[in-house]
């Protein structure tokens, strides 16, 4: 890539000089013809002179432009070499046919989740997709976005709205294991007070008073905020010069963005909506899956065209129409590696048969703790696999442990 960018710079330089030369050559012609027109009465050689000039210019122009064209092509070859994959190898999928409305809605929700309400309105106008009045989540997201932006971006980083919301939804947050949000918001507010009012010994509204009002509630908190509270109180010794104190890291600017993020994801959890835009997650997963699907489609297409050559037409057509159409299969042909954050469901693949577990073929745990699928377990018990001994007792394929089918227990991930 670096060399491609260097080539691009070179091309830019060459383009400007080639075009300048060509233009000034044309310009020289124009001037010479101008002169011929002026001097027509005084000299009879000037037309001839212009003709010579024109021939010269013609040569310059065609040479410069030819060379430019060659250089553009050379750069083009470099680009083509770097970007070889042709996305058109994958067959067009009919999966979205007749689902414009659902797609539009997914895009709308993405805009709402990202706080782009203006974009959502514009898109609904443009595409005729359902508008504001049809989204129960519209107001929710607006409120969430307002509160998160107040924390993150407002010049005085206002926390009160978010705190009010967290207090009102305390039960729900606790149920979801997100009770820590309230403490996070109190911590941010406390640090803000230390920053603005010092250690707050003088009267009300200070950090100390704030701590005495709010922190005791968290002292018996099972989340164990006591250690953190101790640390926060330590900050007071250094107020107001906190930024040069050992606690400076607690005042990093990023704390506002982190706090806003924690608030937004708790808000989403309480409302039962996805923490991240599902459209963005899908597209990110697609960026990993698409090259793999393309590669497999390309290989299958090549294979089927080879089959065609060897004249086994019937199977070849079957391959072309069946196999190459990735989207018509029940299951993708290969595994797509996704980051852990994009794994939302447990999938158990039997280490013996490599098959995915299902309701008919559930995972079973042996007494030793190793897990295999029911079908594999039955085979082991029937003694059809190596490692089996008589009387239904068999050795675990992964450790020396012995088991019978009856000792295996069902597992629900």
């Amino acid at each position: 890539m670096d060399s491609l960018i260097r080539d691009c710079d070179k091309l830019a330089k060459h383009q400007s000089s080639a075009m300048n030369k060509a233009i000034s050559a044309v310009d020289a012609c124009i001037r010479s013809l101008d002169e011929a027109r002026e001097k027509y009465h005084t000299s009879d050689t000037c037309t001839g002179n212009s003709l010579v000039k024109l021939s010269q210019s013609q040569e310059i122009v065609s040479e410069q432009l030819r060379e430019l064209y060659n250089n553009v092509n050379k750069y083009g070859k470099h680009v083509e070499k770097t970007f070889k994959m042709d996305l058109r190898v994958i067959a067009e999928s009919p999966a979205f046919d007749g689902k414009r409305e659902e797609l539009a809605q997914a895009i709308m929700l993405h805009f709402l989740r990202s706080g782009d309400f203006e974009l959502a309105r514009r898109f609904s106008l443009d595409s005729g997709a359902k508008g504001e009045e049809c989204y129960s989540t519209w107001r929710q997201f607006e409120a969430m976005n307002d509160m998160a932006e107040q924390i993150r971006a407002a010049p005085d980083h206002r926390l009160d709205a978010a705190q009010e919301w967290a207090a009102a939804n305390r039960a729900a947050l606790e149920r979801l294991g997100l009770a820590g949000l309230e403490f996070t918001l109190h911590r941010l507010r406390f640090l803000q007070l230390v920053e603005t009012t010092g250690n707050g010994n003088k009267g009300s509204g200070g950090a100390l008073e704030y701590a005495r009002t709010w922190f005791p509630r968290f002292e018996r908190d099972p989340d164990g905020h006591m250690a953190e509270i101790t640390q926060l109180m330590g900050v007071l010794i250094y107020a107001p010069r906190v930024h040069t104190s050992p606690y400076a890291a607690m005042f990093a600017e990023t704390r506002w963005a982190e706090g806003a993020l924690e608030f937004a994801s708790a808000f989403c959890a309480v409302h039962g909506v996805a923490a991240h835009s599902p459209l963005a997650v899908s597209v990110a997963a697609g960026a990993r899956a698409l090259p793999i699907v393309c590669k497999v489609s390309g290989i299958l297409r090549d294979r089927s065209s080879n089959n065609n050559n060897s004249n086994t037409t019937a199977t070849a057509t079957a391959t072309r129409h069946g196999m190459a159409e990735w989207s018509q299969q029940d299951e993708l042909a290969v595994e797509v590696p996704l980051p852990d954050a994009m794994r939302f469901h447990s999938v158990f693949a039997c280490p013996v048969s490599k098959e995915q577990a299902s309701a008919d073929n559930p995972p079973m745990a042996l007494p030793c703790g190793h897990v295999v699928c029911k079908a594999s377990l039955d085979k082991l018990a029937r003694g059809t696999r190596p490692g089996a001994v008589a009387s239904g007792r068999f050795k675990c394929p992964y450790c020396p442990g012995m088991a019978t089918a009856g000792e295996a227990a069902g597992v629900h991930f």
């Binding site: 124009i30 680009v79 697609g286 629900h412």
Partner: protein
């Protein structure tokens, strides 16, 4: 798994890099052709003038020179414009390459810089979709908000949309034909019959308007050059002269059918996309389809809402879930276990623990819970309570 496979990431960006490049090639080729033709003609004219100079009267001579000069001035103007446009396209190519090159600096998908990059990619994928589907105002706003004009191929899609509209609504081949003229050699290379199809349509319209002599003259001029490859269609076209537009004879009725204009619009889009190596579906479709497929598991299809995960795109039953309905499931030859309580991955570092009732959760989540509940754990699915010590560690190979 959090690593970034740069090679794969770049592989899907072919159209992103290809469009400005192809536009640049066309621009350069066109200005080269124009300049050569104009210079050659100027040369011929001036040479003729030089020969006749002595026998011409001065007014004629001056006028001839003026004509020449203004042609060259026009050429110069055109070259100036081309210079500007080309420079812009080269700049665009560089900006795109530079953006893609940033991928080499990222080490993990969890890095904030990578997430910012991914956001921008999503925005340009959305802009591409908006431009292709005619949601021009949304596209514009997206570009303004993200400062992404240089990542969007607005001019190309504007051309496609306006030409399509002209074909579909105005029933005019004008724009499409002039585009064909500018791209004749490229069209020949891909053996496209688009230009013939457009000419044929104009011919049909003349017959519909009962201008038979004009139609015959038109066919002589524009259709005969295609006789090598399109002879049967030319013959059928000529036979059309014998039928009135109200005919019920199938092949000819079909030729008079006005829906042919929509077919032409569609064909135009296919051909221009092919020349620019653009997939016929927007990149958003390709990414969503393969992405949803890679995320889709049997649990997403379950009728039991308890199996769904609110964070999973395929579990969004009203929107993306419907889009994923007919797509393949993901393929797994290795297990991937996710704790129901924390959403964390279960592996050697955070092993799966089986409660006596058969339900499995991660060690981390159960430890945390037992700390809060005084050594006990409560199964969130069945409500049963056990001691943490009752949970049995599982081994997943």
């Amino acid at each position: 798994m959090d690593k970034i496979n740069v090679e794969h990431m770049l592989a899907i960006e072919e159209p992103f890099m290809k469009v400005p490049l192809e536009q640049l090639k066309r621009e350069v080729r066109q200005s080269q052709k124009l300049a050569e033709r104009e210079m050659q003609q100027a040369h011929l004219a001036l040479a003729g003038l030089a020969k006749k100079q002595n026998s011409m009267d001065s007014a004629d001579y001056t006028e001839a020179l003026n004509g020449l000069i203004s042609r060259l001035v026009a050429l110069k103007q055109k070259l100036e414009e081309a210079k500007h446009k080309e420079a812009q396209l080269i700049q665009r190519s560089k900006q795109r390459a530079t953006d893609l090159n940033e991928l080499n600096d990222f080490t993990s998908t969890t890095q904030p810089e990578f997430q910012r990059w991914s956001r921008t990619r999503l925005e340009r994928v959305l802009i591409d979709y908006m431009l292709r589907s005619g949601n021009v105002n949304t596209a514009k706003l997206l570009m303004e908000k993200g400062n992404l004009e240089h990542f969007a191929d607005s001019s190309l899609f504007a051309l496609v949309m306006s030409t399509e509209r002209e074909l579909r609504e105005d029933h005019s081949c004008h724009g499409a034909l002039s585009w064909c003229a500018d791209n004749r050699s490229a069209l020949r290379k891909i053996q496209s019959s688009l230009e013939f199809d457009l000419r044929l349509q104009e011919f049909i319209e003349m017959i519909r308007a009962k201008q038979n002599p004009e139609a015959i003259a038109y066919a002589k001029k524009h259709l005969t050059s295609w006789s090598d490859t399109q002879l049967p269609r030319i013959q059928r076209a000529m036979t059309l002269l014998a039928f009135p537009p109200t005919t019920t004879c199938p092949p000819y009725r079909h030729m008079f059918d006005v829906t042919r204009w929509s077919d032409l619009a569609h064909e135009f889009r296919q051909v221009i996309f092919q020349l620019f190596n653009l997939p016929s579906q927007p990149l958003l479709y390709l990414l969503l389809q393969t992405g949803l497929s890679a995320l889709k598991t049997p649990a997403c299809k379950s009728e039991d809402p308890g199996e769904h995960n609110r964070n999973c795109p395929v579990c969004q039953t009203d929107t993306l879930g419907k889009l994923a309905q007919s797509l393949p499931l993901s393929h797994h030859s290795n297990s991937n276990l996710v704790c129901r309580i924390t959403g964390e991955k279960m592996n050697e570092d955070n092993p799966p623990m089986r409660l006596p009732n058969g339900y499995v959760y991660s060690l981390n989540s159960l430890t945390e819970m037992s700390r809060k509940l005084g050594g006990k754990v409560k199964c969130p699915r069945s409500g049963e309570t056990y001691y943490l010590a009752d949970a049995k560690k599982l081994f997943i190979s």
